[in-house]
């Protein structure tokens, strides 16, 4: 947090570290992150929406595209730092938990670790 010139990277009240839009793409956070979870990425170009993909197979579909090709303009903007911030801005918690159809993905706090171990043991 100290090495971020615009002070874009902060820790929220719940403990999640998030990076806001003031990031200048210097890459200090990526270098210093002990867990290696910060990536420097270009902006992703627009793609056909959900219904076009559903009905006609247009585009790569919803969700993150692994190997996208940024446009020249996006390349000129440069890379920005991104990381998982537990979807703090969404209000209902991490989108991955919301999106899991079988409830396999849950977010628990340390106080529930013992319960989880008990459950696994059984």
């Amino acid at each position: 947090m100290k090495d971020c010139p615009p002070n874009a990277i902060r820790r929220s009240a719940n403990g999640e570290v998030f990076i806001d839009d003031t990031c200048i793409g210097c890459g200090n956070c990526q270098v210093n992150c002990p867990y290696g979870v910060i990536r420097m990425t270009y902006e992703a170009p627009g793609k056909p929406g959900l219904w076009s993909w559903l009905l006609f197979g247009a585009g790569p579909g919803v969700g993150e595209e692994r190997n996208y090709e940024p446009t020249a303009a996006q390349k000129a903007k440069g890379k920005k730092a991104t990381k998982c911030d537990a979807c703090g801005s969404l209000g209902t918690g991490p989108a991955c938990v919301q999106a899991c159809p079988t409830g396999a993905a849950v977010r628990i706090g340390p106080d529930q670790f013992l319960d989880l171990a008990d459950q696994r043991r059984r």
Binding site: L50, G63, G103, L116
Partner: protein, 299 residues
Amino acid sequence: MIHEDILRFRRARYAWWALCLVAMSVAIYATQGGRQRPGGGTWQGYVLGTLGALLIVWLALLGIRKRSYRSTLGSVQGWTSAHVWLGLALVLIATLHCAGLFGWNVHTLAYGLMCLVIASGIVGLYVYLSMPRQLAANSGGLSRAALFAELFGLDRQGRELARACDPVVGNAVRSSIERTSLGGGVLRQLLAIDRSLFMRTDPQQAQPSGAALVVGNTDQRAVIDYVARRVPQAAKRAEAANLQALIVLLSRRQAVLRRIRRDIQLQAWLQLWLYVHVPLTFALIVALIVHILTTFMYW
């Protein structure tokens, strides 16, 4: 409870919803009779039919909700739990709507498609409840990428060991690595069919010219056997030690391949029912629209 399965989500709240809906539908159905025969054309039939049609549309919308990652309209698990329970209720509601009157017409076609969708859904429910545990037990908590990384590591070691061996053995081992078969077409994935091959050269074999033959190597057994047979024929101790190391490596490779193959098989069964469920849903929606339209065309 840290994990709730989709049937018992929030204390089976959607099961109670489904039960109430069915009870209400039975009550509406029971008020029929008298001046109009029970069927889809009475006001009760219209109510039940509208309910069924709205249910069908909402059930199909699960495909949209589960791909709307920004949406905060409930969790996808909640939607899936409701989808399963209300989908089961739908078959009863639709049966009450049509009062059991069937024939060779578009109305029964819509009903039949609906039953097929629900049946494939029940298959899917069984698969979703039983297979994840088997998947976790098989892969030991490793992801597919991690298993492949392990496999490639073994492949690299195998190629280096093969280089240090006799060219014939080296060729056999290298070809067994390169001609390994994993997955494949639909049947090969579902039934975990292994069509691995390797190239063997046997001076004593029926090929007098000493040509190499590409033979079957299902489950890597043939190549392990081939290398093992050469151990007693090894002239030097170092060569024998190399062959032993090769056998160990090939056996480890065999174990990893078995895991990956089983993983592919389980994933394929986990997804196969959707190739029935989803296309039939679209056919059902078209049949539903035609059913409603023609009901009013020949009013």
